[in-house]
Subunit: 254 residues, 2 copies
Amino acid sequence: MAYLQLERSSVAPEGPPSGLRDCPIIDMRLFHQRGADDPIVGAEPSQSEGIVAPARRFIFRQRDRLDIIPCLYRGWAACSVALSDGRRQILSFLLPGDIAPTALVFDNQARFSLEAITEVAYRPLRIADFRAGLTKDPGQFEQFSKIWADEKRRADELAIDLGRRGADERVARLLISLVARLRQRGLSEGETVTFPLRQHHIADATGLTSVHVSKVLTQFRRAGYIEIKGRTLTILNQAAFNAIAGIREFNGQR
Amino acid sequence: MAYLQLERSSVAPEGPPSGLRDCPIIDMRLFHQRGADDPIVGAEPSQSEGIVAPARRFIFRQRDRLDIIPCLYRGWAACSVALSDGRRQILSFLLPGDIAPTALVFDNQARFSLEAITEVAYRPLRIADFRAGLTKDPGQFEQFSKIWADEKRRADELAIDLGRRGADERVARLLISLVARLRQRGLSEGETVTFPLRQHHIADATGLTSVHVSKVLTQFRRAGYIEIKGRTLTILNQAAFNAIAGIREFNGQR
DNA sequence: CGTGAGCTTGACTTGTTTCAACCAACGTGG
DNA sequence: CCACGTTGGTTGAAACAAGTCAAGCTCACG
């Protein structure tokens, strides 16, 4: 299988997103002092131009061989595995500032697909540079190990959700975790975040059918927990919604 | 929370297990040339004495703070998370030669428990030494990154199983993967492996109830796919069992 | 204006859980 | 050595959660 040729035809026109903060890899240095003083893992100036992919486009597919690892700075993407009979499981959502699952750095073949949900813009970081920086620079290693541990933590929590929680709980937890991640990055406006997911995305992420997701969301809406309008999501009653998600308010142990 | 004091009272009396091979961390060097020429990650001579824990004993619990990471060389253990209402999800089984999930190296607090299933013997590897070796020795880093990628791959596959596969498929895949791992380590006798798991372990690993696991296993037994007798498991009809597990025989893409 | 993607809703089916009873194996203390 | 409790496994009936199927709706887009 030949190495995947990533389209570099469409280069991101605009500059850095404003207000993006606390992101795993893309931090403010990358945007404001790019290439000058403190290179981010694998982000050499020569390759830091952005690539834009339209909504629904696959950025790469399972079984592709990659020599780059995408690093999102605009839009949402989904990392998923498709089974031969059409079933799909979304393993993670990539938000602005996220890097694709770093297992790619050590596998010579992707075991999952990465699909743009909205239009996305990303930087293709060279895996070879990435690995080199990792063994040379303790700071980069430290940064990378945090990302790695975080990915593993989220993968484990997904397994717990899918294995031992009901539909309401799973959907609520997904929404809460997405909102929390967006807020942390400064991508929320008050209690509201932009929310481009379709119900089938939620279904594939929670191991449910889209019909059932519709029923659960309708129930949440009628109960006054959330509001989904246009392409935005608002959590109206955080306390009650946390309770649905099995999150205790005070000092709860999950 | 104070650092966990691990019991070092009971030291493993016997020598290295015979025939254990292809294990992530504990390989033959550790046993046969221990400390002499080629130190394994974190396995300093001073700390390579073994610790024995009886069946059902917790080696550590979620929220414990650890300064060592256990590395099994005898027996089986389960890595699991318990929810406040009693639900449990087993995230992985540790077989002889496995190291505990390496997220422990970067977290200052365990997010899961490790419980002995059979009597186990393990080496407590110092996390500090582990980290130091990682940044110093490229070979150790390489070895470690393989383990890390493998853990992530298995975590992702667990999520796929729990999210998108039925009970039969999940149970069959668990048994098949366990047998494969044991065979790879040279711990099988023909088509038979020792199998100390209780049905509730299988239930907690597959997100089912032990009652349903009993029904599924009975069905497998009656169909002639497997035999569980004493504390051993034999896969009698590998082809049919693979089909149940959704594994295609020839060149299948899962 | 037609088309297709996405969402909602209701009726029905299926897979899994829950509950309960019972049995077998095993270790333990009287 | 036996009585007994504990742990683990089996089975069947009933309850329940989620899936499937189908129809109809809105909306965006050509």
